[in-house]
Symmetry: D3
Subunit: 207 residues, 6 copies
């Protein structure tokens, strides 16, 4: 028996491992999803394209009121991330741009500033600071944080998460874009009635 035949025998194991959960589990977004992620696409249907994502190369459009854009590469955009405990977001921020206070309930984050500078912080230890090109900063899972471009030049950053779908809860959206009665929002935030109604109006909330 040749070494070729022998290793072909051994390769039954290798083939088995192709189907194994440990090697990779590209999300089949149309199949059942469980607490730890999506079902795996059949290995026979997986191609190299499942491992590659090209959506982060183009700057997001920052011609909006917050002068910022976040382009996600979560598992729903990049199915190859399923089960790997990782995802990415591209952050473009014009001068004066802001990513308002928000949390990611499902994962921790590390930001890396590639161009310009960003004032960023998370609340818990009141850790806020200005990050310049090449600086990175952590935002632990579930804590309120923000990014703000206080400089006169555009900023670019990339953000990594410890989950393929870290989630996102933007504070303003949570407080004012819902259909909770204003009284309820006021009672649970101590904000004034006029303030709540003003932002409900802007953000499309009712009640």
């Amino acid at each position: 028996m040749s070494i070729l035949q022998t290793l072909i025998l051994l390769s039954f194991l290798l083939s088995a491992s192709h189907a194994a959960v440990q090697d990779f589990c590209v999300a089949d977004l149309s199949a059942p999803e469980g607490p730890t992620g999506y079902s795996c696409k059949k290995v026979s249907a997986v191609t190299v394209n499942d491992f590659v994502f090209s959506g982060l190369g183009v700057a997001g459009n920052t011609s909006n009121l917050i002068k910022a854009a976040a382009t996600p590469a979560f598992v729903t955009q990049f199915p190859g991330l399923n089960g790997l405990g990782l995802s990415l977001v591209r952050l473009d921020m014009a001068p004066g741009g802001v990513i308002p206070l928000h949390t990611h309930p499902g994962g921790s984050e590390v930001i890396l500033v590639l161009e310009g500078s960003i004032c960023a912080g998370f609340i818990s230890s009141s850790a806020n600071t200005t990050l310049n090109k090449g600086d990175s900063m952590i935002f632990p899972r579930g804590l309120l944080h923000f990014q703000l471009n206080a400089a006169k030049v555009p900023a670019l950053a990339f953000v990594s998460f410890s989950s393929p779908s870290p989630g996102l809860q933007i504070l303003d959206f949570a407080l004012f874009a819902n259909n909770f009665p204003s009284e309820l929002v006021e009672a649970t935030t101590f904000l004034d009635d006029a303030q709540v109604k003003k932002l409900k109006g802007i953000l499309g909330g009712t009640g």
Copy 2:
């Protein structure tokens, strides 16, 4: 572009997070179940009722030989618990009531006594003690434990588990309500033949 439009753009992320495993994964009890829980119900079919369970408000019927009743809110009763690492049980115990020795193979437990008093313990460190109203006690995963109402008044307690389906193995049921031959039970427990046959008779075991 208005702030409304801008935040609507941002809300694509928010919408995406609605479908995320991290926000919630209400069990679809009819869909495939995996090692870490049930498949998630489609978000579009989820209602506020999936997050609420009303079965623990009524006392269980303790008019039975053990004078005790356990009312579960596991994932099969309360599908909203799926993937959250939590479940509850209501415990009603008449005077003299007992929850016989048992284990939960799938989760740790903490009991909180709300009315009356309960003698409880787990075996490992032979930790047993009497718990009064307001007392709580832990029972680590997989260890034999019991609860017993030695007082003259009814007792009420609530139990929390670290898993949506902690499992339950009641010792007497395990030993005597099965179809193992009596000889096998005797050989593996050192119990006397008469004892085994007596309890097999009472508990409906055969063999």
Copy 3:
């Protein structure tokens, strides 16, 4: 050799398991803490008191502005919870009492109402509803939620968490009790300057 001697031999294993991480790991609050919890107290120093906590039997004082009190049994109060993936809080709410919007970055929650009624909700799916005695409701990890007693009678609830230290981030405290400049808070929340300064004043924030 007697069965006693034999089982004493077997008990070396049992003794070994006494020291095992799986049986229990009572927190030694003075020893190093790692990402998954505190170091374990020496087994020889563990007593039954480490497994029992009596702090939840007394109503918290609700004679305060929010007319509510939360009494925790986290790992720092109840070291026996270390490593078990569980903790508890007692919630007392006078009529009109409110637990303002907050998140638990480190764990999911299930509330169980034992007396009175509580209006509760979490934001993501805008799931809010009124819970009556015996009702339970989930609040997934990291999502903003609140509890409010809109009834004319006191309410009592117990809350279970999927972590020995779920953490707590109260929105108002996060926004207004820090030393972030008001401009920063305004830029990242879209709240008005007067609103921010008013609440900073009340809550002791500076800047």
Copy 4:
């Protein structure tokens, strides 16, 4: 710069990884232990001996009443297992030998019979069967199970666990070798008083 120098540069990473938790974490049994295992021995003190254990080559002494011996290679005997999610036990069973009903609260098990035959089972699905040489069987975490050599020749088996310290709770020891009052054991097991006192006597229990 030579390739040697270059790779020496790269090796800073490699060296860093030597100290990394992922490569290995040999238990320092004298240092703090946490919920997920022991502290790691300093890499500079680790030798090849930490990765090897020679205690399973010798048959255990089965000249005892249960005619069986279990020789463990848990993390306390084999510190290299720390953090790896694995451990082993050697099982020697003379004819008629029995490993009485027990559970492992901290890990699942798979047995592999190498000599003779063993009748084994776990309770839940009442799964019991006779295993012959070459057969393997699973025992899920926390479920009561037993092994019994009903054949006329010695049996040898090796057991693997999914944890470096799976724990062990032998039912008879748990029930009768403690200092719980007999009445308590009887009330929580439905066993007869005579039965409880007899086995308490044999197993050295008091009370």
Copy 5:
């Protein structure tokens, strides 16, 4: 109400736990697979045969060039292992037999030598040594390792993994049995062109 009836009531919980993920989750190999394993077979269809595997009793055929055979009991061969964090492999090695350098990306390993002797090692700390009958050795997840029978007698070993599907990447297969251009292999390994082409030829690689 008889104790029988009472325990039958209690057994609703027990029945519930039969369906629980914690008791067992036998793989349904035809149903969706997720990042943590296969979907569970319906409990009603599970038989004792799902918990037993008989494939490791027969020596593998070592009449091949590497003079060795590995017989796996991974989840695809032994569905009862699903979700349990365990699997096994039987290793038969004739004199001179070798299991070439390989890794298991998905799990750690412990080998136990039952007959003969095996020279084994893993690379990281350059831990290699000769194992004799009864010796066990760990190979941490993802590190390159090998086994080699340098003795004059056959060797038999059993290997346990910390995962039901640990995967397998055999170095030679990875480097030479693929369709990567030889230039690419050479550039990323520093191996000589002749060496790469020779082994590509033997192992059936192209390019």
Copy 6:
């Protein structure tokens, strides 16, 4: 009682959460390390600098034989990453630069190309492709992979890992920079003696 006083009471919980494992656990590199990471630095000693790392802003020196440089931000360089399941590496590659075949035993990876183009691939499914600016690609935990700059311009990429210390095993270093006897390397890789000795010579291996 003022709202200030009330919230100060509530803030005991908040303060407790400051010390909680869930908020953050900055590595104390001098304290014990366990299987899941380093001990946490005392909260009172933590400053905003612990959350920020500035080492990735400067290009690595690619004036070496592999014409590439990898600058890590693992937990040992950036202690704030401890327990967060994340780390980063900066990759600078001159034209012709190569990161030779390697694995990360402890974590999965996603690369994002920011300048130039990189030919990258992992072996398992033989997934290799050319990545251009803005492209990202996954490399699942433990699988052999490489990066190569086949273009005429420098390339810059950032790499994220799903672990604070993913580890690194460079194939050439593993095979040739150790003190294994050449015969052993040859027997377990099928490489020719001359090839092994040549690379042992270059890479400083002995034996």
